[in-house]
Amino acid sequence: MTAEEIMDGQPELDRFLRTDPRDVGCAQAMDMLHIYAELAAVGGSAEQRYPGIAAHLRACGPCGEDFDGLLAVLRDQAP
């Protein structure tokens, strides 16, 4: 069985072990979160403009949760 075949059956472990070199970490993501969220809330290309933050928010549960919360607030307040 190849390595790929072994991990194909274990997607959660594969996801956990996979790291993205573009990931900027929590400090930078938290510093920029209001800018990123505002861009995302208006349907802007936040992921394309800030790929390092996007990579981080995908991987970091707490920062992803904060982003979801801020985005929900902005969408709720949209006219």
Partner: protein, 224 residues
């Protein structure tokens, strides 16, 4: 509300706020101008901002509530504490607002962060598992492995455990055990280890990279 306003120090970054205000949307400029000022206008603005922060905090706590072991009054207390601490953080950092978003978006970010921090702190009131417990039997469930197919993943998990023991530093191992084995939320571990979110995330990030490399070296995962 009066007590909250009284606790909020006047900002020292007034010069920076004046510079930032010149390139802001009118509403954000208005917030900045009045909060950087003094007197009744500032107090009224603080009261209004606090009211908004309480509303946002309650909404955020409510959004997360289904995943928390918190009930009615505790949720409300947490929201009020988060709003009060966010107000202090915002006024203390006014000089750092660079006008790259609306002022309110920037301000709401702080109350969301405060909600996270307070939920992390609350975890230790009723922890399921002591921090130092090490129950490796939880690992298959943690990664969704099917017990009926143990023959397929037994060697992989044994290799993972070996890599945790042999490749990680003591700090990386401690963070891995707490978060992965024991299910301690990252924000709760931040408090227990008197650290910060960025440092704990980086420790786990480096551990994940090491573990993947170790498994790849033994043919369990492909090289990226």
């Amino acid at each position: 509300m009066g007590s909250i306003v009284a606790m909020v120090p006047a900002d020292s970054g007034v010069e920076q706020t004046s510079a930032a205000a010149s390139r802001l949307d009118p509403e954000s400029a208005g917030w900045l101008r009045v909060l950087a000022g003094t007197g009744p206008a500032r107090e009224a603005a603080l009261a209004r901002l606090h009211e908004m922060l309480v509303r946002i905090a309650r909404g955020e706590v409510g959004r997360r509530a289904p995943r928390l072991r918190l009930v009615g009054p505790e949720l409300d207390d947490l929201a009020y504490q988060a709003a009060a601490d966010a107000l202090i953080a915002i006024t203390g950092k006014l000089g750092q607002f660079r006008g790259e978003s609306r002022f309110t978006t920037w301000a709401y970010k702080f109350v969301i962060f405060e909600v996270s921090a307070k939920i992390g702190r609350h975890f230790w009131r009723h922890p399921d598992i002591p921090l130092d417990a090490e129950d490796w039997e939880r690992l298959p469930a943690r990664f969704g492995f099917d017990p009926a197919q143990e023959a397929e993943w037994r060697d992989l998990l044994a290799a993972l455990r070996r890599a945790v023991d042999e490749e990680l530093t003591a700090r990386q191992r401690r963070v891995f055990v707490a978060i992965v084995l024991n299910g301690v939320p990252l924000d709760a571990l931040v408090i227990e280890l008197a650290s910060n979110r960025n440092a704990i995330y980086k420790t786990l990030f480096d551990a994940r990279r090491k573990l993947r490399a170790a498994l790849a070296a033994h043919g369990y995962v492909g090289d990226d």
